[in-house]
Symmetry: C2
Subunit: 307 residues, 2 copies
């Protein structure tokens, strides 16, 4: 799956992942009204509004980008109905040829991590039968609990040829509270980066490892060091656009081959129609506004990866 | 809710939480057969088998313990049907008067953490309506991303009078990989413990804070320091029993008032019938075996908290 991601990035010249993180406030009124008319102002109504919104955006952008990243929290907030919307979104994106990165930030120990892995990237055994549930291609993981918490995911991913992105340096303002603390002369995030490199060293695709890392666009000065610490890890880069990162600042996330990073934009693309820049599309053409925002992002990012 | 937890612990003399972390292999054959007969060897069949198993255990132990802790990963592995089983388990436990601690180990940034909080301890707004979904009383959180990732949960919990337990020092063998690293002379887990104390300082119940901590029973020597660093944080203690901790080793988790900690046992109670010690109950009386295991644990723990 890492090979497929790399080859799609090359083919489309777009190291871009669109974050499908819908807040109900992003969903245009006409989409919500239609869903609420059918299902009422219910959790199912919310879920169906989100699916309709995501479907239109996926239709508008699937030929431009290699991947989407649904953030499961935005679905989990609506309980079971929200998680049904998450699953429908993943399934629809895959049916359109997109790589699906589940932003789930899970992590637990031993058999518990394995259970998460089974639910998201593996197969559950029930008696003599096997079932896939959420079925993402990649998932994000939290490393606080150490190797015990990551390796069960790696084990399942090896069986399924799927991959993970481990949080190393996150994009939020307080990420430094623990991640930047100095241990034996180097910040914690570097030590985590070293482990990411180690976890991925025997799980390689053709050029990059199935074990990637999350490093925020808001901390480009740290990307240079981390790029060297984990040369074979693909870096998932959140924090572009709405959170402050810009294309020209992202050079150090990429290797000399122009690869090695995939940049996420969520609100900046899925709610583009709400920005002044794309206001001319209007709420009725929200998906076309998203398409234009992807094209603009693709141009902006060339400053980062075209060597 | 922290006051309710404390008062139930006092009344029952049982600082015990039963971890409802069902593996299908724990569920006795007769329970599985019944569910599979009705629903087939399907994800729904798995979910219903787990609900039947949990229900019998809750019926057998609800008058002995203040709380249960369903581990969501064990349900999430079966996708939507598994999560329906999670919700049914939480709802049933609450209907029997138990405090429900959702072991979800979530954590993300800003509005994303808030979305998780809404789904698990808050209310989702859909148009003019509001809905609770999973509706736990407490949830566990991962602190790697810093204050940004915890405070949105605290905000929702304040509105709902619910609480959190933040991972400080986890019970697994590799927890030290990052958590034990020394920063300015003190291990990372102590710095996290200080933050837990800070996050909880303005969100107090009568005696203890709504912001608690997770500290593994397998590391009792660290509990003494952490107990002082966060005197008002209730400590959720995993790793008792099957993972190696014993009652006599847990003294330092408790304050002088005999309170301040609640010890989790999962497999040791819910799969007690599989142990030689409880084999006389037989698989058909698995719930009675669980009840006896709780009674034995209650006795064992007195060595820790009776001063």
């Amino acid at each position: 799956m890492i090979n497929e991601l790399v080859s799609k990035i090359k083919q489309l010249e777009a190291p871009i992942v669109v974050g499908l993180d819908p807040m109900l406030s992003y969903v245009p009124e006409q989409v919500k009204e239609k869903a609420f008319l059918e299902h009422g102002e219910t959790l199912k109504g919310a879920g169906e509004a989100i699916v309709a919104y995501n479907t239109a955006i996926i239709d508008a952008i699937h030929d431009l980008v290699p991947a989407v990243k649904p953030q499961i929290a935005m679905y989990e907030q609506f309980g079971i109905e929200g998680l049904i919307a998450f699953q429908k979104t993943c399934d629809y994106a895959k049916s359109k040829g997109l790589v699906v990165i589940g932003d789930i930030k899970r992590g637990d120990i031993g058999s518990t991590s394995e259970a998460y892995a089974i639910g998201h990237v593996g197969k559950a055994k029930v008696g003599t039968k096997e079932y896939s549930s959420f079925s993402e291609d990649f998932i994000t993981l939290n490393p606080y609990m150490g190797s015990d918490s990551i390796l069960p995911f790696v084990k399942v991913c090896k069986e399924e040829k799927k991959g993970v992105f481990v949080l190393v340096k996150t994009s939020n303002p307080s990420s430094g509270e623990f991640q930047d603390r100095i241990i034996d002369g180097r910040p914690l995030y570097e030590w985590v980066g070293e482990k990411v490199n180690e976890w991925g060293s025997d799980f390689m695709g053709d050029e990059y490892s199935y074990v990637g890392a999350v490093v925020g666009a808001t901390y480009p000065e740290m990307a240079r060091v981390l790029r060297n610490v984990m040369p074979k890890a693909f870096i998932l880069v959140p924090g572009y656009g709405a959170q402050g990162g810009a294309g020209k600042d992202l050079k150090d996330f990429f290797n000399q081959d122009g690869l090695g990073a995939i940049v996420n934009s969520s609100r900046g693309i899925i709610a583009a129609y709400k920005q002044e820049k794309y206001a001319k599309f209007g709420a009725e053409n929200f998906a076309e506004a998203s398409r234009q925002a992807v094209l603009d992002m693709k141009e902006d990012l060339k400053q980062a990866w075209v060597k």
